[in-house]
Symmetry: C2
DNA sequence: TGCATTATTTGACAAAAGTCATATGCCGTT
DNA sequence: AACGGCATATGACTTTTGTCAAATAATGCA
């Protein structure tokens, strides 16, 4: 404490170390350096030195309110850890999983408009998460935006199918929408291949290969996941893929822990973008809700499908741990 | 938390509120405003606004290390409360009263040189405190300083008498010293008055009336105080003065709680400056050690004898409470 | 839909803070 | 007393930050 330098000024208001007095006048009384200099009868440069010394001595502590910054900090950690371009981590909040989900959805919907630019071609995947995000989007016009449906449609008990997702997103942005007017899955590979050869379908499939940004969620490989409950895959299929190393589902396709495609019985029967076409776009926006999807989300990031991630604190922490 | 303004930039690194991100880059990553502005693709003026908002929202806390400032803060409080020009409060420290005393003495000795200017006429009182301060003074030359002995001399068992105090102070400052070559107290008022009429003495007494600064301590009215133990006053005298309202002793003179002189049997027998001559000098430096002297110190301040005070935290607090 | 109102952003300027080479003062040595 | 080395202080200059009125974008309302 009482540093005993010879530095003193007869103009001091207390006998205290002049460095302390300077710091006090500056930080507590918020005088500027010139005022302090003339009060203490020293040059302003000297005041600068005193303030520097006060900081070096650790008299001044500047702290950022943790509650305002810890989600931001978590986002930076996630970004750096996985080499993402950006991340948005929402606070966990106090409520249950519904609360968590809605926060993430709101976050994604808030963020999305600022991630899109005129002329973008946005590929949109399928799923309840994406559907909810689309619902939450504010009406915002983005000039020359094109929205593309990445996977075939599929009736579900939940009232959202791939075409509704893409259409809704397009509507909110007043964008043109290119839908994929085929079922997500067909009974045989032959029918699928025949369809793919159809001129109209072929053009649509071609179009989605040229999107520069994508918006998607991932599914887990749990038996109660949407991929199974929607009837897209049977439990048998699921086990089959899991046995081959699948940890998650992305646009109806299975990926392993590294994000590589896992081949299996459904592949040829599916209509929609293929995984290698989904990789390394300008921007891949992954919205992930729920800790059960963490392995799938990490795989999607590792695989190069996602550059931007929206999730919450607990999931982000789990992702960091998982890796 | 998640403030949901529409303000967003596509260049943000997280989906977080741009105000948070700005604050982070500024305070945590210590980028300057221009760097932040170009990173976020906004004008620098906008960055200024965001930072202002971050401060308004209470995201930024700047704290002054209490251990460095609480004595300073106490000094300012004491100064403001009593209308002093300045105060120097030393930390209490961990040791016992010896430790307290030596800190205060060191503090006073450190401070004193910066309070004096060339041409000053410094009146010095008598007492162990002042003696110790003089001992502690660093050798410093103050041009044209004159040191004056304010009260007559008095042999004590402690080895300090008024002439030694003033001589030592003068020596340390290479100053001219005007001593008062008479005893502090005489057996009768007549002898005292005869002495005062002596040409030499008269001149000396006259000289001390023209000092512009004074250095003194106060004594309590306890039976074990120096005023009694040195033999200057008998216990009988003491009780007499106390009965008339005395709370302390200043240059051998008794004062009441308001700092006004308390007249009594010793007054006419004493040689030295009178209280009304001591008041309202340019500067009156009171060095006060020990809680038992708090009432006396407060009285000395109230009476207008002191403009500057050196003491420690516990005494300063007691002085505030006392008032 | 068009217009008025309000919030936000911006560029140009002013003020404040930081830097650095030089100057001053201080202390120990010759 | 003169000298060199070290620490501190200063003035002139550069960079950074703050201010403010005007422009632009968002919002509400008839």
């Amino acid at each position: 404490m009482g540093q005993n330098s010879t530095r003193r000024s007869s103009k001091q208001i207390s006998g205290e170390d002049i460095v302390v007095e300077t710091a006090w006048l500056y930080y507590h009384d918020s005088l500027n350096q010139s005022e302090i200099a003339s009060r203490l009868s020293v040059s302003r440069a000297t005041v600068v030195n005193y303030l520097q010394e006060a900081r070096e001595r650790g008299y001044i502590h500047t702290k950022l309110a943790p509650e305002a910054f810890n989600t931001h900090r978590a986002a930076l950690e996630l970004r750096d850890h996985f080499g993402l371009k950006a991340a948005y981590i929402l606070p966990d909040g106090t409520g249950g999983s519904d609360d968590h989900a809605s926060r993430i959805i709101r976050g994604a919907a808030d963020w999305l408009p600022s991630l899109l630019e005129p002329g973008d071609r946005l590929g949109v995947a399928w799923g309840k998460t994406i559907y909810d995000v689309a619902e939450r989007l504010e009406q915002t016009t983005i000039p020359d935006l094109v929205v593309l449906q990445l996977v075939g449609s599929m009736a579900t008990p939940y009232g959202f199918s791939a075409d509704v997702c893409s259409s809704n997103v397009a509507r909110k942005f007043s964008a043109k929408c290119i839908n994929l007017h085929v079922p997500a899955i067909l009974s045989t590979a032959e029918i699928a291949s025949t369809l793919r050869a159809e001129s109209l379908i072929s053009k649509q499939l071609d179009a989605i290969r040229h999107c520069n940004k994508t918006l998607f969620a991932v599914g887990s490989c749990n038996p109660d996941s949407h991929i199974a409950s929607s009837g897209l895959a049977t439990l048998q299929d699921l086990e089959d893929y899991i046995a081959r190393g699948a940890v998650g589902v992305l646009c109806g396709r299975f990926i392993d822990a590294e994000g590589n495609p896992v081949s299996g019985p459904l592949d040829n029967r599916m209509m929609g973008i293929e995984l290698h076409e989904l990789r390394h776009r300008d921007m891949g926006i992954l919205v992930s809700i729920g800790e059960e999807r963490v392995p799938a989300a990490v795989a999607a990031i590792r695989g190069g499908y996602a550059t931007h991630v929206v999730t919450n604190q607990s999931c982000a922490a789990a992702m960091m741990d998982h890796a």
